[in-house]
């Protein structure tokens, strides 16, 4: 085995060391095509002879599939200076800016335009390389424009992970993509917490994924409320019998929590609050939506407060800051404004959506301004306000209030067609209401109230 890097001054144990420490016997990473034993993930390189050349470098991990990304993260944490994890939908047009902002030396992946392509696995000598405290950089799930990157450490990313209380090895599965914060949490839980991991695949339908999860004996399964609603509608749901069900990434409403409790009697159903910037904030295990107001008074490594209606979090699991931007993440007291509106009713807080008006349709974020710009292109339109309408299937759908002259059915159809032609389906309004006027704030901006 390798010399533990934690013994070097100022250095933390690398991900590979932490996996090794929790034992690799019987543990595996699965995707739809391949199964890799964790023992092999620790002892083999997929970088050909180039691994040494990446020591101390800034590396962008840009792969087609999740398994390749997971293996690279295991291989390069503690080796690279900075690991930037490209989400699957990163627009290639943003690559030059990303490369510049994150000072990328090498793009590693399985695409033709990568600097370094992955090759067949072969044994490597891990201990030869000087250890680094690798910075992990993730993209925020932004809506339009240049994506934001935030910096984390492995310690911060794994700060919420408690040792498994199970005797049997957990088999984690997730509907998320591990190249986003929510999915990465689950991967690290499996890797550091002593389990196996089943990864989803973009080309696999929910029924096929559930069948595969069942066949591989998934015990811990996580996804957004929208993922779970889809799973609940699938006849393949009975293929799985998890011991723990987890939701995060969107507002978990009471209906989906109740439906999961009914589908898996006696199984704990928890929902977690986390964001790419603020890290894992808290978990709620009482089966109810929202969170107890008493959480605001809790001591410990995550402190919470509500100011101007939004939830603020101070935590050592939070990102240290943005990469390539002078924008500050923390206020003077070290709190991060999550931008999530909460409202207190009795002894509980409930999530009310995003202050920015950003609409979350099944985990996909939509900036209202982007949709309004399309509607406003029509010469008959004077003003428009795009907002979310609560929906039991995707959390929200996009609707629009429009001030136009003349406002008739023909214009409604024209506007809907215009949006469908210019925008991806989830961004196009599903209905348009004509209104006399729209409220404007004293500052001259459209008043964005919650739908």
């Amino acid at each position: 085995m390798n010399a533990p890097q934690a013994s070097a001054p100022g250095l933390k144990a690398s991900l590979a060391d932490r996996i090794a420490l929790s034992g690799v016997e019987g543990r595996r990473l699965h995707d739809v095509r391949e199964t890799v034993p964790l023992a092999a993930a620790l002892s083999e390189t997929r970088l050909g002879g180039a691994r040494e050349a990446l020591a101390g470098r800034n590396v962008l991990v840009r792969t087609k599939g999740q398994l390749a990304a997971a293996l690279l993260l295991i291989e390069l944490d503690g080796v690279a200076r900075r690991l930037v994890i490209a989400p699957p939908d990163l627009d290639p047009a943003h690559l030059p800016a990303v490369t510049l902002d994150a000072e990328i030396d090498v793009v590693v992946g399985d695409d033709a335009d990568c600097d370094l392509s992955l090759s067949a696995p072969r044994p490597h000598g891990r201990s030869d390389l000087p250890p680094h405290s690798t910075e992990w950089v993730m993209f925020t799930s932004g809506t339009t424009g240049r994506p934001k990157m935030v910096a984390h450490t492995l310690d911060g990313l794994t700060g919420a992970i408690k040792p498994s209380k199970d005797d049997a090895l957990p088999v984690w599965g997730t509907f998320y993509d591990i190249r986003r914060y929510g999915g990465l949490q689950m991967l690290l839980r499996a890797l550091v917490g002593g389990g196996s991991m089943i990864l989803s695949s973009a080309e696999e339908g929910v029924g096929a994924f559930l069948a595969r999860l069942g066949a591989l004996g998934v015990t811990h399964l996580s996804g957004t409320p929208s993922h779970w609603r889809k799973a609940l509608m699938s006849p393949a749901l009975h293929a799985i019998s998890p011991r723990y069900v987890r939701l995060s990434g969107e507002i978990a409403d009471q209906a989906v929590l109740d439906a999961l409790a009914a589908a898996f009697p006696g199984v704990p159903v928890g929902h977690a609050y986390a964001s790419t910037e603020a890290g894992v904030g808290f978990e709620v295990d009482d089966g109810l939506e929202g969170f107890p107001a008493a959480y605001l008074d809790r001591a410990g490594e995550v402190r919470m407060k509500v100011e101007d209606g939004t939830l603020r979090i101070r935590s050592n699991r939070a990102a240290s800051g943005y990469v390539g931007s002078a924008e500050t993440l923390h206020d003077a007291d070290g709190f991060i404004d999550t931008g999530d509106l909460v409202e207190r009713r009795g002894d509980r807080f409930y999530f009310m959506g995003r202050r920015s008006g950003v609409i979350n349709v099944g985990g996909l974020k939509i900036s209202p301004e982007e949709v309004e710009a399309v509607i406003n292109r029509h010469p008959a339109v004077r003003m428009s306000l795009v907002k979310g309408r609560r929906n039991p299937i995707t959390g929200a759908i996009v609707v629009a209030d429009v001030v136009a002259e003349p406002s008739d059915e023909a214009l409604r159809d024209e506007l809907l067609a215009l949006c469908r032609a210019a925008l991806p389906p989830f961004k196009a309004p599903t209905s348009i209401r004509f209104v006399e006027a729209l409220a404007v704030t004293p500052g001259g901006k459209l008043e964005r109230r919650l739908a």
Binding site: K230, A259, P392, I393
Partner: protein, 81 residues
Amino acid sequence: MSIKTTIAAEMRRVAGEQNKTLAPIADDLVLLDCGLDSLCFAILVARLEDALGFDPFSTEEDVYFPTTFGEFVAFYERAAG
């Protein structure tokens, strides 16, 4: 129009708008296999709320997620009382 007819008509309308091919509607049609995606179902449930005046996913005590077209219709019929 019966609830069943309304639901079938809205499903066809959403499929048309979203350029989806809807499978022939039958009671045992599995919703996830009918050609509509999550967004289509989200739009369908919103349209049905506008047409029928209720959304059983939000109002019913015992929420469950129907698997087939027949169950979906029954869920709405029960909520209509």
